[in-house]
């Protein structure tokens, strides 16, 4: 579904990604794990065209993203939940969800998808007239995921969904990810919380200093000596 071949990207003269190649197949959940500053967020920003790639190619269902403007990426079925959720704090929950259904293709399905999101996250229905910025971190994460689902994506990109949340909430966020997988969405998730994320995905890539160091099934990575030593620890 999504294919990256030898992608390099960065900010100005600073290069954050080097020759990254990876693939997400339809129906899969794939994680990109790695330490802080490894380039995980840059990777998702490049896929959503928030930054331009300097070399290599990204394809969605065979179509190159090279000449697609950033605000048209969502039309290809790619929807991103950005790092730190980035809700519109002074819009209500329902207005945030409406922004998720902004595209011409999504508008006619707004009411139907709103019901779907409310069924998935009943808490959001209770809070629908509340300003998004006044909710707890966990609730905001639900709202951010709901907003990304409002466009009816083929592939959901999640950027560090557990970052900045209390440990008790982190567990429930991964339960949410599992729930979304069960709904049949293809998911690509970027995480530092290695042990938790490897329990909910099929495959994973280890990204270190902008390069792919390891790739394999979640079980293989979890068992590998390198991951055990550096990330699972304890």
């Amino acid at each position: 579904m999504l294919e990256l071949s030898r992608v390099s990207a960065g900010y100005g003269s600073f290069q954050a990604l080097f020759d990254v190649s990876l693939e997400v197949r339809a129906g899969e959940a794939v994680a990109v794990i790695g330490p802080n500053g490894a380039g995980k967020t840059t990777l998702l920003r490049a896929i959503s065209k928030l930054i331009e790639v300097s070399a290599g190619e990204i394809r969605m269902e065979g179509r190159s993203l090279g000449d697609v403007p950033a605000h048209r990426i969502i039309d290809l079925g790619l929807s991103q939940v950005p790092e730190h959720r980035r809700l519109f704090p002074r819009l209500t929950v329902e207005e945030n969800l409406r922004m998720g259904a902004y595209t011409a293709a999504a508008r006619p399905k707004f009411a139907q998808r709103l019901e779907m999101v409310y069924a998935l996250f009943p808490r959001m229905k209770e809070r629908r007239h509340q300003m998004a910025g006044t909710m707890s971190g966990g609730e905001q994460q639900m709202c951010a995921i709901g907003r990304a689902l409002m466009s009816g994506p083929k592939l959901l990109l999640l950027d560090e969904p557990s970052a900045g949340l209390a440990p008790v909430i982190v567990q429930s966020i991964f339960d949410l990810v599992r729930k979304i997988r069960e709904e049949g969405y293809t998911v690509m998730i970027v995480e530092q919380n290695v042990r938790q994320v490897l329990k909910v995905v099929d495959r994973a890539y280890l990204l270190e200093v902008g390069r792919i160091k390891l790739a394999g099934s979640a079980a293989e990575l979890l068992a590998s000596a390198e991951i055990q030593k550096a990330y699972v620890g304890l």
Binding site: S48, P69, A70, I74, D75, Q80, L91, R98
Partner: protein, 288 residues
């Protein structure tokens, strides 16, 4: 002095009518600042051009007043887009002081250009409307219709911002511009649309003012500072704050003018503004 003074009541009512128009003028400026984060210092000069547009189309070329009004709104909306593309866009990421200076430059430019093109004569539209007389109170219809039009326009804008996708995007972009493409929104298009709406509001303001005031190249200096102060008093970029501030200002001017002299009304309003800037520099409803 009587306890209930009928002329005081008239002054209060006039203040309310003036407040409605001031609120509309402030709305356009607030919208632009709230969304694009740039102050159009030349906002009142756009109104001045709109007033000339109405004057020439109606008085000189004999177009019906409503058609002249429509043309002025469209013209100033277009000027708003032009201002954004030619002047604002290149300095969008510059220091605020540079943004102030360029729009200030446009102010001087438009004033000088209008002086060259139209001369310094005060021009009167010559539309006289009767007054509404209730008992001893008399209110000119030009003021009543201006205030009502302002109210309708403000309500329409509120519904647009609250109920439509585009309106929601306009509110959202001021809260987080960087992630708008993830929603499928092109920020530059939203900025163009906002500039057109801001311009259209200035154009509508021009239509309401030209009914009551003579047009001349420096008319912007009368309403520009007033509009800007209403916005700042309400909390720059806060549309509800600007609405409330407009009525406070207008009341001070009308009632102050009634007790002393019209000019004293302005002195009181500006004095109040200065005190408020010390007491509450972020504005009535502005966030710190």
């Amino acid at each position: 002095m009587q306890i209930f003074d009928i002329f005081l009541l008239e002054a209060v009512l006039n203040g309310i009518l003036f407040g409605g128009v001031l609120a509309l003028l402030a709305l356009g400026l607030n919208l632009i600042f709230g969304v694009i984060d740039v102050v159009w210092i030349c906002y009142a000069e756009l109104m001045m051009l709109g007033m000339y547009c109405v004057f020439f189309l109606h008085k000189v070329h004999g177009l019906p007043l409503v058609a002249a009004f429509g043309a002025a709104v469209v013209l100033v909306a277009f000027l708003g887009v032009l201002l954004h593309v030619l002047v604002i866009r290149p300095v969008l990421n510059s220091e605020p002081i540079n943004q102030l200076l360029v729009t200030g430059g446009v102010l001087t430019f438009l004033q000088a250009a209008a002086t060259l093109a139209f001369g310094i004569d005060f021009r009167n539209l010559g539309v006289s409307m009767p007054s509404l007389a209730v008992g001893e109170i008399s209110l000119p219809w030009s003021r009543i219709s201006a205030a009502l039009t302002a109210l309708v326009a403000m309500t329409a804008l509120y519904v647009f911002l609250k109920k439509t996708y585009l309106g929601t995007a306009i509110r959202a972009i001021s809260q987080d511009r960087a992630i708008m493409p993830l929603m499928g929104v092109s920020p530059s298009r939203i900025y163009l649309l906002t500039s057109a709406i801001g311009g259209a509001l200035a154009g509508l303001g021009a239509c309401l003012l030209v009914l009551q005031y003579d047009v001349h190249p420096a008319i912007g200096l009368t309403f520009g500072p007033l509009t800007f102060m209403v916005c700042v008093l309400g909390g720059l970029g806060n549309m509800l704050g600007g609405f409330i501030a407009a009525f406070i200002f207008a009341q001070l001017i009308a009632v102050g003018g009634f007790y002393f002299h019209l000019e004293w009304g302005y002195v009181m309003a500006f004095g109040f503004f200065i005190i408020m800037m010390f007491a509450r520099p972020q504005g009535i409803l502005g966030a710190k």
